[in-house]
């Protein structure tokens, strides 16, 4: 048995050696060793897997270019799905696994804010860097009114270990409220949330802004996935109360886009709006038969509309050619992984060897003027990015093949010609 294990180690070592030899192309010389970075994402979902691909791509590129200061980066993707949906418990287990292995110096993720809320308290005392490509709940970094928990409590007196490359829902909701009220001319709206932390938060911030602009909220209803399959009564309630559109706070895994289909079943033709949780293929599928005019926000600049990201996306598409490989947060994940590896690189230099988690965390906190593909940005002391851009997308049906290529690539899996198309963006960093 001992011998067998020795054989496996030997084989693995050989394989790794070959792999490294192949990628460094003879330059750089021998690797100083490996440093692991992880990710904690719901890879059972299309969106989660697309994010993991972004990290994988960044790591592959870095290793191909000789690694980080001579170290080979080994990436491991952890899945925080349980029973097919993200689970904070699964996320916590994954972070514990990473903490138990000293080679892990940081992670990209998580994807869902509820998972981050559970993970930060475990990772913070160990100075374990977490960089989320997609968390948008403001309460994770900002102590603002309406939060059920506070960022300082999550960190329990430890230095901040959490950063994110996207902006927060307190911008996503208002951006759509402004767009609906001013651009679409909708003055009366029905709001539906899915009773999750995310859904309630984003719906609340939408409602506040919509009302402050002078709009009327016809009705604000909520549902739970396990309890509601037929939304027609709720939608009829909105319609009869005078609503001219629907705003949903929630995510596709909570069936948030099924009401879109059922709007057609009650003969109601009106725009359907939501946050980044509906900017997915699953959402387009759920809306089957009534896809056009679904409006979604994304808390970040659209990578495909940023000149600096064009090359990275083209390269990514070469390496990951599947139709669902690229998602709305893939480039954010790419940036997050690069920011993490840059911090690790600086820590390696300072430590003149393998750095500690605390050293990596300290370097990450010093990040300024980070040149990512989605922009050049800083992080404030809470971990928030200085980029405060919210993008707005709309599903357009019957697109031509060329138009599909030009869209976000987030299309229906059955209705392949109905895709999210970039519409406009709001920059909250600049005064309006």
């Amino acid at each position: 048995m001992v011998r067998a294990r020795g054989l496996i180690v030997l084989t693995t070592a050989t394989l790794v050696a070959f792999a490294c030899g192949g990628t460094t192309g003879g330059g750089g010389g021998a690797s100083k060793g490996t440093i692991k970075i992880g990710s904690d994402l719901p890879v059972c979902t299309i969106g989660g897997q697309a994010v993991s691909n972004g990290v994988q791509f960044a790591v592959n590129q870095k290793n191909a270019a000789g690694g980080v200061e001579g170290y080979t980066i080994q990436y491991q993707s952890f899945d925080d799905c349980r029973q097919g949906a993200y689970s904070a418990d699964a996320g916590v287990d994954n972070v514990r696994k990473m903490l138990d292995d000293n080679k892990f110096l940081g992670m990209v993720g998580p994807y869902n804010s509820a998972v981050a809320k559970a993970e930060i308290p475990i990772a913070a005392p160990k100075h374990f860097v977490m960089i989320s490509p997609a968390n948008t709940n403001p309460c994770l970094t900002k102590d603002i009114a309406g939060c059920a928990y506070h960022p300082q409590d999550l960190r329990a007196g430890n230095a901040n270990n959490y950063w994110r490359v996207v902006t927060t829902d307190d911008y996503q909701g208002p951006a759509m409220a402004t767009y609906a009220y001013k651009t679409l001319g909708i003055k009366n709206i029905g709001i539906l949330d899915d009773s999750t932390v995310f859904g309630v938060g984003i719906a609340g911030s939408f409602e506040q802004q919509f009302k402050s602009l002078g709009g009327t909220v016809a009705k604000h209803s909520e549902y739970k996935k396990e309890q509601t399959s037929d939304f027609k009564s709720i939608l009829l309630g909105f319609k009869n109360a005078g609503a001219l559109g629907v705003y949903v706070g929630g995510t596709d895994d909570q069936n948030i886009c099924i009401p879109r289909k059922q709007m057609k079943d009650i003969g109601w033709d009106a725009p359907f709006m939501g946050g980044d949780g509906i900017e997915t293929s699953d959402c387009v599928d759920q809306a089957s038969g009534n896809e056009p005019n679904i409006y979604a926000t994304s808390a970040g600049a659209d990578a495909t509309k940023v000149d600096g990201a064009k090359q990275a996306i083209a390269d990514f598409r070469k390496a990951f050619s599947g139709p669902n490989d690229f998602g709305g947060y893939t480039m954010q994940a790419y940036d997050a992984a690069n920011a993490l590896m840059a911090a690790i690189g600086r820590a390696v230099k300072n430590a003149n060897g393998t750095p500690s988690r605390e050293q990596v965390r300290a370097e990450m906190a010093k990040t300024t003027g980070f040149k990512g593909v989605i922009g050049t940005y800083d992080f404030d002391k809470n971990g928030d990015t200085s980029l405060k851009i919210v993008s707005i997308y709309v599903v357009t049906g019957s697109l031509s093949d060329a138009a599909i290529k030009d869209s976000t690539g987030v299309c229906g899996s059955k209705t392949k010609n109905a895709c999210f198309v970039w519409k406009t963006q709001f920059d909250f960093a600049k005064p309006a």
């Binding site: 029973q83 097919g84 739970k224 399959s229 009829l236 069936n255």
Partner: protein, 328 residues
């Protein structure tokens, strides 16, 4: 009448008066919500029949039944994939596919349910009553697991092949689909009633439900009769799954859990073991759910529906039309 009984009836009467008031004040909305309830209720009725038939004959609450219903939609979606159906409009292919797939799904689900009975319930026929109940719950999770492995956690698209015709009459919007659901469910329930009351096997089922031992002494093959009950229950569940898919066009693997519990509530509401009761109970629960969604709020619907379950069990355990269970 005791005081709690009195309170229960007052509560029911108040609810009916409030509904009647809504019907007078906003008749258009009332009729529209009534249609929502009728379509939902028709599907619940089909599922409730399976619960009630199985309970009537072996006194087992077959918790896997809701998942058989969901699996029906999955199987239907898969078989429809073999046809060159059009989701844009109603074509001849759609019609042929519908006419072939509908009975096919029913038969497949019937077969599966017979297998479930053979594997999970028959060996436990004489075990304490808790044992088959537990295997039923196990079977429920098993079926959910199968569907999870088959299509993953996301919602599964069910082909939209019915005619899309819809119209507005006096401010009430309804489509071909709504009519289809109610009519098909009504036909199936009528066929079931004829089968139970007019055929030899139907008579054998009634006899077995009344007194299994006596029926056996009269020369009725009990195993065959019970298997037939599971078969027919699943025919209806399969049909329910197909209708669900055709109507809602989305299905996900955990759907059967909640729908099953609601259908079970409908069966209890109508009087468990009582076939017309289950059909009526399904319709009424569907209507209550729709009215609750509209007039109270959807977050309360579950509370209302299961509140009714508790209320019926406590105050009227025999249900609306009376329980029909073996007499001991």
């Amino acid at each position: 009448m005791s005081l709690p009984d009195f309170g229960f009836y007052v509560l029911c009467a108040t609810a009916i008066v409030l509904l009647a008031a809504q019907a007078v004040i906003h008749p258009g909305e009332f009729v529209q919500v009534f249609i929502f309830g009728l379509t939902q209720g028709s599907i619940y009725a089909l599922v409730a029949l399976g619960y009630t038939m199985v309970y009537g004959i072996i006194e087992l609450i077959n918790f896997a039944h809701g998942d058989v219903f969901t699996l029906g939609a999955y199987v239907g979606s898969a078989i429809l994939g073999f046809f060159a159906i059009s989701e844009g409009g109603f074509t001849t292919v759609n019609l042929i596919a519908l006419l072939l797939v509908f009975p096919a799904v029913m038969l497949v689900m019937g077969g599966i349910n017979v297998a479930i009975e053979r594997v999970a319930y028959r060996p436990l026929r004489n075990a304490p009553r808790l044992a088959p109940l537990i295997t039923a719950i196990g079977m429920s999770f098993f079926l959910e697991g199968v569907m999870f492995l088959w299509h993953g956690p996301a919602t599964v698209h069910f082909p939209d092949i019915l005619p899309k015709a819809a119209t507005t009459v006096a401010g009430v919007f309804f489509g071909f689909k709504d009519v289809f659901v109610v009519v098909v469910a009504a036909i199936l329930v009528a066929l079931l009633a004829i089968f139970i009351n007019r055929t030899k096997l139907g008579k054998a089922m009634r006899a077995t439900a009344q007194d299994r031992d006596a029926a056996q002494l009269m020369g009725i093959d009990i195993n065959r009769t019970i298997a037939a009950t599971f078969f027919i229950g699943a025919l209806l569940a399969g049909a329910g799954g197909m209708i669900w898919g055709l109507y809602y066009n989305t299905v996900y693997y955990q759907l059967g859990f909640r729908s099953g519990l609601i259908a079970f509530t409908a069966a209890v509401f109508g009087g468990i073991g009582n076939i017309p009761g289950a059909a009526l109970g399904g319709l009424i629960i569907g209507l209550i759910a729709a009215f609750s969604d509209s007039y109270i709020g959807s977050k309360w619907t579950q509370v209302v529906v299961f509140g009714i379950l508790i209320g019926v069990l406590v105050f009227r355990p025999t249900g609306l039309l009376g329980m029909r269970v073996p007499e001991k």
